[in-house]
């Protein structure tokens, strides 16, 4: 069995080496690129969301490189993600590929996830499978921590590109790590590296990034918006992290509250019931950012994403009520990087002027 899992951000850094160390033969698809997107777009329904198309492209690339099994999580709505695996399987089988699609249809259930791990890794003992699963989760937690440090430090760096370098090294170390003691040592080392970066002391614009989970986690789909904004001197706070999403279900970060419930509690006046996906986090966290006095909020969503459209209407009201600038960016396969750069620069300009009285550019 040659297993492949489509990309989402740095997910592969969490699981790839760990599963390989247990003897699983993995085919990691090439990093998301234009080829994957074009392949996926060609064979997907026209109004399928962008994550679907990129996933399909990744799957085709992996199958062409010899994968025999695909692991794809699912769900039961309300958003479309839960049905991706079914449609993708129909498309791929019709294209002539032969493979087995393993649907992890209940990502909320620990039992289901551990059983899946047992199946794909061939581990006999359930205890060992639990251990493996939680180790992957801890790695993902450290990866997210490193990315948060990156977002906090990069706008202030004196030496251009130093923070990117430290982050890249950190990800490389975490990738190769296979044991808990080593993970702890890596965390301490990376902490020292980040502290060692020489930083300016100045006030930064504070902007919240909210929206659909895949777009927020996968830099290729959002066209490296975090890098672009950090370069402009904007400190970003992301509302959705993969380790938070997993922590809400599996509780491996002891001091981190359930972000979904927290966001729902905050979002009540503007969204009484979650419309699916991460829409409740979009609304709840934006409210939190508004109350904390952030300079602005950027909402990122794929075209036709239904829950985020509902959240967008709530955001427009939050924007009016709190006088908070909100920029909604809707991506599909035709979005161009130049247009995006222009819009971001204009937004940052206006925010800068609103706060500091002068223009950024």
């Amino acid at each position: 069995m040659k297993l492949t899992i489509p990309h989402m951000g740095l997910l592969h850094v969490g699981y790839a080496r760990v599963l390989e160390s247990y003897g699983v033969e993995l085919v990691v698809p090439p990093p998301p690129n234009q080829e994957a997107l074009q392949l996926g777009t060609r064979y997907s329904p026209e109004f399928a969301c962008l994550p679907f198309k990129l996933n399909l492209g990744n799957m085709i690339q992996a199958l062409e490189r010899g994968a025999t099994d695909i692991l794809m999580p699912g769900g039961f709505g309300p958003c479309r993600f839960g049905y991706y695996a079914v449609i993708q399987e129909l498309i791929l089988k019709r294209l002539g590929f032969s493979f087995r699609m393993a649907r992890a249809d209940d990502p909320d259930s620990l039992n289901n996830m551990v059983t899946t791990i047992k199946e794909i890794s061939g581990i006999q003992s359930k205890r060992e499978a639990y251990r493996l699963f939680f180790f992957i989760l801890e790695k993902l937690a450290v990866i997210d921590w490193a990315q948060q440090k990156y977002l906090a430090i990069k706008p202030l760096e004196r030496e251009k590109g130093k923070t990117d370098q430290v982050l890249k090294e950190a990800i490389g170390l975490i990738d190769r790590c296979l044991t808990y003691p080593r993970l702890l040592r890596i965390w301490l080392k990376v902490r020292r590296s980040f502290s060692g970066i020489s930083k300016d002391r100045r006030e930064l614009l504070q902007v919240g990034l909210v929206g659909e989970i895949f777009m927020l986690l996968e830099p290729f789909t959002n066209m490296h918006i975090e890098e672009k904004l950090s370069k402009m001197g904007v400190k970003l706070s992301k509302s959705v992290w993969l380790s938070d999403w997993l922590n809400d279900r599996f509780r491996f970060k002891p001091f981190r509250r359930n972000q979904f419930q927290l966001a729902w509690k905050w979002a009540r006046p503007y969204m009484e019931f979650p419309a699916g996906g991460e829409s409740i986090k979009t609304v709840g966290k934006s409210l939190d950012y508004a109350r904390k006095g952030y300079d602005g909020v950027i909402q990122i969503m794929p075209f036709t994403c239904m829950p985020e459209l509902v959240a967008q209407t709530a955001l427009s009201k939050i924007s009016r009520d709190f006088n908070l600038p909100v920029l909604t960016l809707i991506y599909d396969e035709h979005t161009g990087p130049t247009g995006l750069q222009t819009r971001l620069e204009a937004f940052a300009d206006l925010l800068y002027h609103k706060r500091f009285g002068t223009l950024l550019y």
Binding site: P45, G77, R80, L90, Q261, W264, K265, F273, A275, S279
Partner: protein
Amino acid sequence: MKRFWTRRDPIPRYTLKPGQPIGLPRGMMYYHFAPLWQAFWENLGWPVLVSPTTNPDLLEAGKSLTRSDLCLPIKTLLGHILWLKDRVGALFLPRLISIEEEAYLCPKILGINDMVRNLIPDLPPLIDPMVNYKGPARFSLDDSFLNLAAGLSLEVSRVQAAYQEALACWNDFQKRLPGRRGLPKELIPEEMAGYLFPAEGRECRYRIGVIGRPYLLFDPVLSHHLLKKLSSRSSEVYCYQALPPQELDAYSNRLPKKVYWSLGKELVGASLSFGQQPRIDGIINVSSFACGQDAFTSHLIEHYLQTDSRKPFLSLVLDEHSSEVGLTTRLEAFYDVLEARPSAE
């Protein structure tokens, strides 16, 4: 202690003057629930005002509320609410999360109440009991109506009686649908009923199964008078509710995974069933531009009809910019295919 996410906010008190009409917007789930809702309020003694059939002004008003990419049926519903808001004492728009086990409605329908509150200023009281079979807190259809008793300051027995009678009306309405080819005669404009239910003896050459959401098909403006065009070509139109629910379920259970949207599931089941019925000559699948669900359910329909059925099939995507001429051309091509087929399938 009940966790916060299973509690609803304290039941709001609605101050309704007797005799002031209750507004029912003609859109989205109106086409499924209207007989129930209308009978309920009339039994309690409040007249019901239904917004008129969609017209271009209504549509414009709804479209200009928000710049977002919401699908046109939702924007139409917003337009209907805008028309109603100054003419009624209260609006009735239940919050429909899920109307059956194991399936949701479209996420935009889940969020329509929030959208209305966030986008439209100066709303009259919005009566929105929750119907949610999926949880985390379960509110059945019965619960949703009985919970209104406290909010309206009425005795539960009176509300219960009104609801039971309305429920009986609604069940009768649903039982009549298969006999009427799935067309809800009570809910469509008179003109439409005129050509959909032609006088006896009128020639019918083709029986077309039209797979589409009722709030799209039975709205003349949104559907670009599609049903009229079909009827004028001596065709009998069959909609998804022409089939009894058990048959729809039987077909939709054949899929590798059950579709978890109520309407989507029934549409897929209906198209698979139509594909197997010898009486149906051809199938047309109609959807809105950028409809999220239809991106996937249309794909399922096309896939399974291609493999399992040999009937002529036409897929249409409609939006407000669709040209009448383009639509007519495609229909003519479809009818050419139908005519070229031998009559015995």
